[in-house]
Symmetry: C2
Subunit: 346 residues, 2 copies
DNA sequence: CTGAAAGCGCTTACAG
DNA sequence: CTGAAAGCGCTTACAG
């Protein structure tokens, strides 16, 4: 392992000088600089990152805290983060928090200033104590997809998203709409309740409501969603449309429909959320949110904070939502689609 | 930032003693140990990882080098890695190598002993020089999904995989089989050529061959595969079956068929490779390889190497391949499926 | 059992 | 411009 000493010896200078040329410090003669660079090249020297980190009190790495296993959509966000960091000198270390039970130590490790210079938190809402700890640590932090006071964040308005999905369905004449959501595994996920609120608002606007028997939640996943949908669709008074909390769950609903011999969108309309790749593959109508962009923007923002050394204003950036109308939603059976959906019936 | 000094002062001991209780060194009185632990608790002290790393010459982190953007399947592998590392003290830092052009510096950074104690290389075949450099660095390394002499690795036999796909098709009576593969973006991917060899072997066994006009490659991705398939399927002498190098590409083929109004599997059989989640969603027949397991096993193996301090025997572990027979393959048109496919025709 | 000291490999005032 | 030295926060022989 060649160190700065070896280089200094070979170039016939002090280690301070070597350090200066490594760090492009201006006050070095062109001549000595050349000699040192030569030594570096022939010895194939690379400075130790940890020694540098200890000395500078900065590690040049940023940590991402992510419940990596829960949703496919998280991967897209991480991809975005990696892209945002691509041209920076920062490494990305990933802290996988795979279940709510690890709560206690969740922010203990990455919060250490020396492990990471900055923190990216994905989809997890810190508890008040955790939030306090994060603030106390003074480590620049950016939050993605979670509602957290006190940190810059990149989110989506889930209430609006829920309303958009509902209005799309209502515009097609649907009145009896089912909802299939997530159960929070302990991360403080808030999207399910919020999207439900949006749905209820939209329903209320036309004098309808979300019937309890059509409002079901379960652990996130395709299989569970399928079971939930099966129960809902086997009822004599089954819904004419289902809004699923995620594309993954919507696909479970599609499977349930197929199993029951229901035609989509003839007998049942289905709308999801996210627009993951699979949504396009199966032609799923969905509410698109910028997954990749959320990661990229957050990374870029964090880089700025790290640059200024600023604590980061607590600004929540709302990312745009968009209906992607594909093949799983259509007019309710027996109803002619309104020319102007907003006119509403009666 | 509270350091070991603060703790020592508060407990009224030397920093050496604090270090000993942190590291569970036996030679500390129960009494002093208690005092120190107390101080640690009240000060909420956490040792600096970088100081420890510098002192111990070990960082407790492992690096994964991965072309993160190319294939969906990579994500599954990273998930497996994270799982394999879950109960270890190691952090995972990801080195994203998104294009072949970054070749030069690809292994320069992670190869630094001080940045990572061990290395996981996913799907990239190092050049001879890179391989040499890796060896010289003496950093324990495990390779996933790449053919690299000199390192333990977890792979799949792509020739066999190609043959399995082909034999599945041949068993259904197909003779005129097309192939759609990847073009290596500079990472040294070898799976396309190898799977093609398997296909050719199986074809040869029945006196057939892979016709050049049915042998197409392009950059990995659904859209490209669709174009390639379109050209192939618009020929008057179109194939009755297509073997795609990956599920993603197979799905592109499916799209091309739909576009042309071809019934699958009535007019065309399609088989993919990998068994990513989307494969199940669209009912794609495919050759399944253990993506998640490859990552998990490699991580566990690396942990063992790190434990022994051993350089790691250069053993290649071949993971099992399996045909997952779903809905996109069927008997060739006009041919009755054989009761015993292996009997073969004539 | 425990403290003082050296050392890990850098960076950065401080002199000169 | 450049060298010697202190310091970053730990670990670990070495004495005692």
């Amino acid at each position: 392992m060649t160190t700065i000493k070896d280089v200094a010896a070979r170039a016939g200078v002090g280690i301070g000088t070597v350090s200066r040329v490594i760090n492009d410090h201006p006050s070095v003669t062109a001549d000595t600089r050349a000699r040192v660079k030569d030594a570096i090249a022939t010895l194939d020297y690379h400075p130790s990152r940890v020694a540098r980190a200890l000395s500078r009190q900065r590690s040049n790495s940023i940590a991402v805290v992510v419940p990596f296993f829960t949703h496919t959509s998280l991967t897209e966000r991480v991809r975005g983060i990696l892209t945002g960091l691509a041209d920076s000198p920062f490494e990305l270390v990933v802290f996988n928090v795979d279940h709510g039970g690890r709560r206690r130590e969740r922010f203990a490790r990455p919060t250490r200033r020396d492990l990471a210079d900055g923190l990216l938190i994905v989809s997890i809402t810190p508890s008040p104590e955790e939030s306090q700890r994060l603030h106390d640590s003074r480590i620049p932090t950016v939050v993605i997809d979670a509602d957290t006071d006190g940190f810059p964040s990149f989110c989506v308005d889930d209430v609006t998203g829920g309303r958009m999905a509902a209005e799309h369905l209502i515009g097609l004449g649907h009145r009896r709409i089912g909802f299939i959501g997530d159960v929070d595994p302990g991360f403080g996920f808030t999207s399910t309740p919020q999207r439900r609120v949006g749905l209820i608002q939209a329903l209320a606007a036309i004098g309808e409501e979300l019937h309890p028997e059509l409002d079901r939640v379960g652990p996130h996943g395709r299989a569970v969603a399928r079971e939930l949908a099966l129960e809902m669709l086997e009822r004599p008074d089954r819904p004419t449309a289902i809004f699923a909390h995620s594309d993954t769950q919507a696909i479970g609903v599609l499977e349930a429909s197929a199993q029951l011999g229901l035609d989509v969108p003839g007998d049942l309309s289905v709308i999801g959320f996210d627009d993951i790749e699979a949504a396009e593959l199966v032609g799923l109508t969905t509410v698109r949110q910028p997954l990749f962009e959320s990661g990229r923007l957050a990374a870029v923002r964090l880089l700025e904070l790290l640059d200024n050394g600023a604590p980061g204003e607590s600004i929540t950036t709302m990312l745009p939502l968009e209906i992607v109308d594909r093949r799983t939603t259509g007019p309710v059976a027996g109803v002619v689609r309104q020319a102007h959906p907003t006119d509403g019936p009666e």
